[in-house]
Symmetry: C2
DNA sequence: TTCCTTGCAAACACTTTGCAAGGCC
DNA sequence: GGCCTTGCAAAGTGTTTGCAAGGAA
């Protein structure tokens, strides 16, 4: 019985093959590792996870593979204002909330977003192809912890 | 009679002095140049403008001064996903629309934004301190030009 | 005169590229 | 076997830092 993850990896491999990319061990490994770690990742942690399984994998290979996946539209570069790049598995439109205390990233899929995009585009007369919406602040849990610490 | 720009530069200088920063020629020059060029700028064009007036100004000085202004809250770093940093003169909350054809940056100050922020924060139970909202696409003018070119 | 600021060059962090060796099909 | 991919090291970018000399107060 195949897991959801295995199916996803398999699909991605097939799509890449159809585009004329050969499937090598490192590529399989990198794709598998990306799919394993939830929907968001950065190069640094991806590298670490990959080196764990295949220590002599070169940084360049990881960067190149990630670029191929991004060009093929399977992952998307995210702009989080950090010095290093973040990526996520491509999916529907959404924004992010990033907790500046615990680093957690929460997806905003709420319908308000769609409404906001439409009304902004209309009132300024432009066509929106792509967006990057990031809200920074404190998640409920961290906010609560902070309150407790201050009370103490 | 002083121009609006001169007044703004003067105010900023005063605020910096109160914070214990001495006002040097380069700092005055850099602040003046930032204020002159509309509300958005990046280091590269700022450098170019400054070198025009004071050719031996060091990159490091510009970076350092910009950092001071940002720490003092007078300008804000913007996250546009480009490789290099963008800044803008601090003001009220807003988002940006960036035309990917002509590079123009248009501010979104529309009330929908405020509504969106509030509803997103509420429905996900977090506190928003700061946001970065960027929409990428084509402005009305470029969209029209493109239509004409395709018709031809 | 005392401390802060500057210019320069070197260091940095992240990413990309050139090239010979190796692996896929 | 031919071509694509890899690893390595070197080059690139944008930014920051250490330090001696110069300038503000």
């Amino acid at each position: 019985m195949k897991s959801v993850q295995e199916k996803r990896v398999f699909q991605i491999e097939n799509r890449l093959k159809k585009q004329g990319c050969s499937m090598t061990n490192q590529r399989r490994l990198i794709i598998d590792e990306i799919m394993r770690n939830g929907s968001h990742f950065d190069i640094e942690s991806l590298m670490a996870a990959i080196r764990m399984r295949e220590p002599k994998t070169a940084r360049a290979t990881v960067y190149r593979t990630v670029k191929i996946l991004a060009d093929a539209g399977m992952i998307k570069k995210e702009i989080l204002g950090d010095t290093h790049s973040h990526y996520e598995i491509a999916g529907r439109d959404h924004g992010h909330f990033i907790c500046t205390l615990c680093g957690r990233i929460i997806e905003l899929g709420c319908p308000t977003l769609t409404g906001f995009l439409a009304s902004a585009a209309e009132s300024h007369n432009f066509t929106v192809d792509r967006h990057s919406i990031e809200l920074f602040g404190r998640c409920g849990e961290c906010e609560r912890k902070r309150g407790m610490e201050e009370a103490a």
